[in-house]
Amino acid sequence: MSDPGYSDLVAEHFDRPRNVGALAPGPGVISGRAGSPEQGAEFRLTARVVDGRIAEARFQVFGCPHCVAAGSILTGMLVGKDRDFLRTWSWRELASQLNLPTAKRGRFLILEDAVRALSDNWEKQF
């Protein structure tokens, strides 16, 4: 533990987050957004879909270190996944992987909403 409140995995992804940013709108690019700073976190996800699968993904988040780490891990995990994965993805496994404090569960539900919004946007575009 590098800090009493955060696991090494959280610290690693917080200090060196992967896939930060947003893909420019264009053919095959989908996006999903949820939350607000007042709710404790706001996520924005973008991804490029090629042949029915996600080829790359990016995230931005106004949120705590757990949220930053979650965005980093999730966007890495999305590569190669299809739309069903987005439709059924649950925050619980990631929460357990990151030792998410109970009080912050609402923030990961916001992330789940952003993933669902990404899925809805996919459906709308294709």
Binding site: G5, Q60, C64, A103
Partner: protein, 389 residues
Amino acid sequence: MTHSCIYLDYAASTPVDPRVAQAMIECLQAADTHGNPSSMGHELGRRARALVEKARAQVASAIGAQPQSIVWTSGATESNNLALFGVALLHADKGRHIVTSKTEHKAVLDPLKQLERQGFTVTYLKPQPNGIVTPEQIAEALRPDTLLVSLMHVNNEIGVIQDVGAVGRLCRERGVLLHVDAAQSIGKVDVNVEAMQIDLLSMTAHKVYGPKGVGALYVRKTPPLALRPLLYGGGQEGGLRSGTLPTHQIVGMGAAFALATSEREADAARLRSLRDRLWQGIRAVGAVDLNGDPEQRVANILNVSFHGVEGESLQFALRELAVSTGAACSSGSDEGSYVLRALGRDDQLAQSSLRFSLGRFTTEADIEAAIAAVQREVPRLREIAKLSP
């Protein structure tokens, strides 16, 4: 001194000055100072008493008071409690209204909440956006049944200095008692209870390079002001604070206050220069606000709100720095500092605020490292948090 991180949290607590520690060690190791300072019937008791009285004179001198007006306590929290309950419960017949500000320390606000439950009425003044409570605000809040005004001298979160001298004059004219929480003042700004017409003044050692666990309350002697004690027992401290006096702690507080007096001007000049350099470096990242009046403030505290970053991430990103957030809790609770919210900052900005507080052992290298960390991390976090449309 070696630190695992850069300590910029002197307003929370200070390291013990080695000269203070030496005085305490000598007291603890001496063969003839372990007597009870109240055991005046033998030599060892009298030697301990002499040390206690020397320290009492040192503390009194730091605030321009007579030694007999100093009551030893366990720290500023106890001093505040003794002052507030001590006055309210003994003098309730003179009035049950108290005036204070919304930006007082919890060790004042919580006792006052308790007094409200016991039938007192408290007016909590909202400071100006710069953190200052004006004497005019106090004057307007006074009522015929106002018993006491309690106003901190230096705010612990933002470092602004209240004009307690003007408030003292006003209170004396209106026959109202004035209590001042001076936990953050000693060694930073001039304190003179006579000139400022203060009736009760709370102090603590651990903010002044002394040990934790010891403090004092100044209680006006001319004319004498009677208080109801919090603790009953052996009747020490003129019956105001029963309990065996901790000689070595008291020696430490005395030594710390003597140093605070003799080194105040040199410390303040050096810290002002370091603080200004820190602010210059922080300001360079843009979209930051300095909280509290830019002029009427102590030299060692800088409270900054950072726009466009989330508070908890900001603190974790800067974990190589020991600094404070005003936030009540770093995880789960989304409540920002009540002091910053009283100044009109919204919740989100109050959470994205940090207090940098410098002290006697802060070096230029510490400040440069802090600036480098802020200039590296704040733009990085803003990039992550910049949610494009």
